[in-house]
Amino acid sequence: MEKELLFITVIGEDKKGIVAKISTLLYECDINIEDINQRIMDRYFVMTMLVDMKESKYPLEKVREEIEKIGDALQLKIQIQHENIFKMMHRV
């Protein structure tokens, strides 16, 4: 079965519990984490997670809503975007 890959991007100040909170949510939704990376860029803490939503129990809109709640609670900017947008923009 083909994967449905999306990137979750977290931008902001590094703090405890970011990975824990997001990965708990993803586990509850039945979304698999394929890869995690983090870096300090332009003074920001940046973490990206590549996730597979193929078996997700919830539609993307609902997952986005929940992720945004975590972002608000931790005062971080969190984005979830299908991987195609990155392929289009960064690969010729």
Partner: protein
């Protein structure tokens, strides 16, 4: 193929911090098949065709916004130039009634603007075209969502001065009948108007287009400004290269959304218009890009070079990113919709003469600028004729969206609010050219049009 953290961060921050968005998805709809001898049947057909398809557009665009986390700001409709479909119904009353139908269809399907209430009159006026122009003050006063256009010149037909001469008085009447003259913000006059332009007020569904087509307008002045600011010391060749690379990425977003949306709707993908379109949001300004080049204020000597460089780089980056580049594709330099342009007028750096010169190298023309309400109609016509002559001779699109604000003098300001922004009232040249314009007729096509 793995995507690096840096690449993901770059895309995410373009959207989160630099106002990257898809500015508009505009669905072009042919209305010729709606024509009926019975006018009520005709308007019903128009309403049904627009509403059905507009609703599908809005729903599909919202799905893609969620999938890609990129805002799609406007969902719009453009239609067959209305003067064409009204040939057998051309009375002022019926024109107003058709406008109200289109307005209602837009409102009922969450569409903010519907474009195409206009005519192609570059070679001459039909009876229907004349009635349409005469009805415009009524139409723009009676509707909220209707945008109107006229194409009065092309580089192969020359310029129809008789049509230009009808516009000044029409605009003054429209200004007097709409709050803060805002009706004039919904009318644009063109030379060489593209048939697939997705941006308002000039969008229309051209006569060479299929039954429906989907056109995308990307944007991103904030993204370009941000990379220019990070590269303060590079030379012009490097600067152009940096802008090209950035615009490539922006355009790819538009291409992606266009491809998927057209697939979801089963409607042919028309074009991506790669124009940099400013908004009044902080940082989302074309003027700020020019300033980041190293120019103190827009209008200073050097501004035309800066815009020429920017335009060219935008086109080169966009052309590589999409096989469907079209519409206006360049850089818009409206006054009221760009906080940096407003500032430049207010501080005296930018006047109408320099704005006109800048339009010789930008993609469109003199856009969203206010002039004193007591400006003679003939002077408005002359402003339009000058600007369009630039387009006709230089084989490019030019346009004018001018707002004569009743009761206001140069130096005062008018606030339209929202997307349309705030316009400082600009001084016009007090000398008259009315004897010249009153000669009327048609400016012949330039010799450069003889290419066969």
């Amino acid at each position: 193929m793995s995507i690096s953290v840096e690449e993901v961060f770059e895309t995410a921050s373009m959207i989160l911090n630099q106002n990257l968005d898809i500015r508009t998805t505009t669905l072009g709809i042919n209305l010729k098949d709606c024509i009926d001898n019975d006018f009520h049947k005709f308007t019903d057909n128009v309403y049904d065709k627009i509403k059905k398809n507009a609703q599908r557009l809005v729903q599909a665009a919202e799905k893609l916004e969620s999938k890609y986390g990129i805002p799609i700001i406007n969902k719009r409709i453009s239609v067959t130039p209305v003067s064409l479909i009204m040939e057998t119904h051309c009375t002022r009353e019926k024109y107003v009634s058709m406008a109200k139908t289109l307005d209602r269809a837009a409102a009922d399907s969450d569409i903010d603007f519907i474009g195409g209430f206009g005519a192609l009159v570059h070679k001459g006026l039909t009876r229907s075209d004349k009635v349409l122009i005469e009805s415009l003050p009524d139409v723009l006063a009676a509707t909220e969502h209707i945008c109107s256009f006229l194409n009065v010149g092309t580089n192969v037909a020359g310029m129809n001065l008789d049509a230009v001469n009808m516009i000044g008085s029409m605009l003054k009447e429209t200004a007097s009948r709409t709050k803060d003259a805002v009706g004039c913000a919904k009318f644009v006059v063109f030379a060489n108007a593209p048939e697939d332009n997705p941006f308002m007020a000039g969008a229309y569904h051209g006569i060479g287009e299929p039954d429906m087509s989907l056109n995308i307008g990307v944007s991103g002045p904030g993204v370009v400004r941000s990379v220019v600011e990070k590269n303060r010391n590079c030379d012009l060749t490097q600067l152009s290269e940096i802008i090209k690379r950035t615009v490539f990425k922006i355009t790819r977003c538009g291409e992606l959304i266009g491809r998927e949306l057209s697939q979801m709707l089963n409607i042919p993908f028309g074009i991506v218009d790669i124009s940099l379109a400013p908004t009044t949001a902080k940082g989302d300004s074309v003027a700020d890009i020019i300033k980041a080049f190293g120019i103190e204020a827009v209008g200073a000597h050097g501004t035309a070079l800066a815009i020429a460089l920017l335009m060219d780089a935008v086109k080169k980056g966009g052309a590589m990113a999409s096989g469907n580049v079209g519409g206006l594709s360049g850089t818009f330099i409206p006054i009221s919709e760009d906080s940096g342009m407003i500032e430049a007028v207010k501080c005296g750096a930018l006047n109408l003469a320099k704005l006109e010169a800048m339009t010789a190298v930008c993609s469109v023309g003199m856009d969203m600028f206010a002039i004193p309400g007591d400006t003679p109609a003939e002077t408005i016509n002359a402003i339009i004729a000058d600007e369009l002559a630039i387009g006709i001779i230089n084989n490019k699109t030019t346009a004018v969206r001018v707002i004569p604000v009743p009761g206001k003098k140069a130096g005062q300001s008018v606030n339209f609010g929202g997307l349309l922004g705030e316009a400082p009232v600009m001084e016009v040249n007090p000398y008259s050219s009315s004897d010249f314009l009153n000669r009327g007729g048609r400016m012949p096509a330039p010799v450069t049009s003889m290419r066969n």
